[in-house]
Symmetry: C2
Subunit: 246 residues, 2 copies
Amino acid sequence: MKSSLARSEWPVAVTTARACDGCGLVQRCFLARPLPDDNGECRDIVRRRYPIARGERLYRRNTPFTSLFQVCNGSLKTQRETPEGDLVVTGFFLPGDVVGIDALADRQYQSDAYANIDTEVCQLDFERLLSHCTRKPGLNAWIISIIGSYVRRKDCDLSWSCSLQTHQRVLRFFLDLHDRLTQSSQAPSSRLALPMKKQDIASYLHMTPETLSRNLAQLRRQGLLQLHENRFTLPDTTRARAITGL
Amino acid sequence: MKSSLARSEWPVAVTTARACDGCGLVQRCFLARPLPDDNGECRDIVRRRYPIARGERLYRRNTPFTSLFQVCNGSLKTQRETPEGDLVVTGFFLPGDVVGIDALADRQYQSDAYANIDTEVCQLDFERLLSHCTRKPGLNAWIISIIGSYVRRKDCDLSWSCSLQTHQRVLRFFLDLHDRLTQSSQAPSSRLALPMKKQDIASYLHMTPETLSRNLAQLRRQGLLQLHENRFTLPDTTRARAITGL
DNA sequence: CCGATTGATTGACCGACATCAACTCACCAG
DNA sequence: CTGGTGAGTTGATGTCGGTCAATCAATCGG
């Protein structure tokens, strides 16, 4: 597995130019363009960019944390185990998102990260990132804002994940997914591909696959969601936002 | 209200020595003792230390973020509003905890912070903190770890808040509270004071006060929890940990 | 001392969601 | 083609926890 390469195998001197060659995210990625206060010496933060096949694991729980990963294209999920032993999906990561932030506290990954579909990630060396931060306020602000966004997302998730009804949670999930997918690709908002399995959505939303299925059927009947063959559209986003309280 | 003082009213030149005078947290607080790479110039991070009476508000949602606050003694809660308009408690903060981290993303507080009981907080100027970070790796590491701990807590909360049964959630809450209270005060672990209302606990655990009450009664019958007049003990922590999966 | 207010407890009832089961469909190997 | 596997759907049934209501306890100001 690519993610388990030993340190010595990493191409240490990869330049940003080479690593970012052909990356679909190059328009939005902070590393592909010079930072406000960067004059080129931040490039070594990028270890490498590499693909993860669908179903493959990026990192494993309780292994030492060395790197953050930014999703270039595709999608990842993180999951952890409950006391009872079953798995719960704790997050989905789309192009532009940074994964591994839950490991900052004790320098160990707190979850397992898997590719939902064929995916490419950009590996960022955290120590180098930190060391540059002490000299570059812009970079420091960037990393703080990345972590801050992650915190905000978790906080929001926590406040609806239990207080809303199941059909509201489902609708809200698709609204959120819609927003994130369209802002990252600027593609027309119609017929977006659903980049994860329904089982995982159900797990993430704290419900069973059965209830998710029933709710999807209901939302389809109400004309709030179209979903065929892993492609979806939201015909009436304003009504949807009203229902979910957005 | 103390927290709404204008900037100009802040005693800008407070030294750490004066601000920390008589602070119950002085043993554990990072600011009371010199940092690994501090030679005294980080003192101006501490704006001031001041009390918040029980029920008073420390900051309000959607107001500009300028400061983090570290709890010296007492306890705080943060809460936010659901789409339906009712309030949900999103976190409890005990001595040593830092509150305001959810505001990092867009520089606005994302919740309302209130004192559960009479409380003292230490106000840390975030801009100054950041500016020192660029020169002091130790301070940068500290702030990253503070944020990291917050992230880990949120992640954990999210994974049990819905997947566990109510009695497990209640027991887990008391175990967690026990651990946090004893580690912050090094006091003997018996007869700890419960520093928040049961309503707020119920809200935080995503259940009604009635359900919380029933579960408390049940846990008392099972000999897993003693709770009288806002003081509690956990007679059998090992069994409790087994039940909650810790 | 007294009502007023807020918090906590207990009981009866009910509904949303989980559970269990059967079934369809797509995909793949042989 | 056939059999196997895993994802997804649909239906019948049960239950955990929410809702509503009454009661009790604690605090506070007069």
